[in-house]
Amino acid sequence: MKVLVPVKRVVDYNVKVRVKADGTGVETANVKMSMNPFDEIAVEEAVRLKEKGVATEIVAVSAGPSAAQEQIRTALAMGADRGILVEHDGVLEPLAVAKILKAIVAKEGPALVILGKQAIDDDMNATGQMLAALLGWGQGTFASKVEKDGESLKVTREIDGGLETVSLKLPAIVTTDLRLNEPRYASLPNIMKARKKPIETVKPADLGVDVTPRLTVLKVEEPPKRQAGKKVGSVQELVEKLRNEAKVI
């Protein structure tokens, strides 16, 4: 089966983001950008499915600026076969991305789309569920284990209080949680090979998708800062302070 893996270009995990002085957003100029960490887990899972002979072809797709080609190249270096860039410079909300992906699914006909559960920039946790809804497919979100089971997919999900296992009719959507796998680092030979793999570029309009945002950002501000408190010298002092000063125990 063909597997589609959407990947998002985001501010790197290790960057301490700064709110712009004019309150319109966060500073993204001259900041290190990377593939969203949960999307790396998605790529890894697709590659493992291919190594097991379950997946036949992996298509990595990114919706974003032209520079998102870098993240597609990373996916190709990890083992994806080819890429599609849906080039758009403005804001893309999860609903718009889901509509773009629906159009790509119509063209490519994958049996499975694996996405990260959440992008670490907008923290929406929505695109996978929204794509599943638009396609009328089942969804296995927050997956910690994925197994092909005949014509269906068995997905173990991280839920409040423990784990849940569901069976999804294929085609289906899976979104990744942390414990699904540990993504590999691309080897140098594979990075070189990835340069030769094809990336097709399209625009949302070519796909007939209206990506007009539904949300207007009125302002972006820093949360209230917490002040560092005091150091205590011993466990006894700590307990005394918690009892008599903070009065929380």
């Binding site: 923290d123 929406m124 009125l218 972006v220 917490r226």
Partner: protein, 310 residues
């Protein structure tokens, strides 16, 4: 128009994040509560008693019995015509269902809101809570998940709303529930606990979490973990506090052997009092801690247990 809250319920009771979601919903209009899944009937009595709730709807069996996203979303969409806003706690269940509902209604979901400005305008954290965005939605209906830690829960008693069965919704038959492994614990839920004690990578093993658990049991606290501890296999993912785990804001948060990565701080920095125990005095956790103790946790935590037992 009224607003509808999809409740999380367990063992015939509502979760505390559900009561926080009702508190957020009350800022938007008359509140109706929907309970779906096994035990909905039993929990409906608790929902009916919430002050300010005007109606309770239940859907107990059939396709929604196990709370699968596809039939629950279909049920919400079938009810959506009567409501201006649809809300759920930003729990694993709410985050699974609500974006699906939003897409079916062709609206952009508002995830994890921490403030209500007006009927169209909401505040939500982005970049692991390092920025707060105020956003105005142009959609006719709003589909929202609520960060429970940001809203004081409504009291458990005081109302007397009528309970009705929700009309049966279609079953999309896209997925099947196979089973669940729920960890049995006498300790309070992480997101509802008054005190939380969490361990980080410095715990060094799953077994070592026992020393934290002893303190938790004395304090009646929930036990949490940093992502590093979860990644290392020392604690289950369900215990993860942080950007990609649970968001907590207890009265007392005790961070043990946690360095304080921004992703962890995102999940606990709104706690009222923060205690950090770490042997690295440069650890960033001390920058947000009200009380810091520079010490080896394997010495300090048993001492803490002994001191609290006195």
């Amino acid at each position: 128009m009224a607003v509808l809250v999809l409740a999380d319920h367990k063992d015939g009771a509502l979760t505390q994040p559900t009561r926080s979601t009702v508190a957020a919903a009350q800022k938007l209009g008359e509140v109706h509560v929907l309970l779906a899944g096994e035990g909905a009937g039993a929990a409906s009595a608790a929902a009916a008693k919430l002050p300010g709730v005007a109606k309770v709807l239940t859907a107990e069996g059939g396709a929604v019995a196990h709370g699968l996203a596809e039939p629950v979303a279909a049920l919400l969409v079938s009810l959506a015509g009567s409501y201006s806003h649809l809300l759920a706690p930003a729990s694993a269940a709410g985050k699974n269902v609500m974006p699906r509902v939003a897409a079916l209604l062709d609206v952009q979901v508002l995830s994890d809101i921490c403030g209500v400005v007006d009927a169209d305008t909401f505040v939500r954290p982005i970049y692991a809570g390092n920025a707060l965005a105020t956003v105005k939605s142009a959609d006719a209906k709003k589909v929202i998940t609520v960060r429970a830690a940001s809203f004081d829960p409504v009291p458990a008693e005081g109302g007397s709303a009528p309970v009705e069965a929700a009309p049966a919704a279609e079953d999309p038959s896209l997925s099947t529930f196979l089973g669940a492994e729920i960890v049995k614990s006498e300790r309070p839920e992480l997101t509802a606990a008054r005190i939380v004690i969490s361990g980080g990578r410095a715990m060094a093993s799953a077994e070592n979490f026992a020393i934290i658990e002893k303190v938790a049991d004395i304090l009646g606290a929930a036990v949490g973990a940093s992502r590093a501890a979860v990644d290392a296999g020392y604690a289950p993912n369900d215990m993860q506090v942080g950007q990609t785990g649970k968001i907590v804001a207890p009265e007392l948060y005790i961070a043990v052997g946690i360095s304080g990565a921004i992703q962890h701080l995102a999940g606990m920095k709104d706690s009222k009092v923060i205690v950090a125990i770490n042997k690295d005095e440069e650890a960033p956790i001390f920058q947000v801690a009200d009380y810091g103790l520079v010490a080896d946790l394997f010495k300090a935590v048993p001492e803490l247990e002994a001191e609290l037992s006195k």
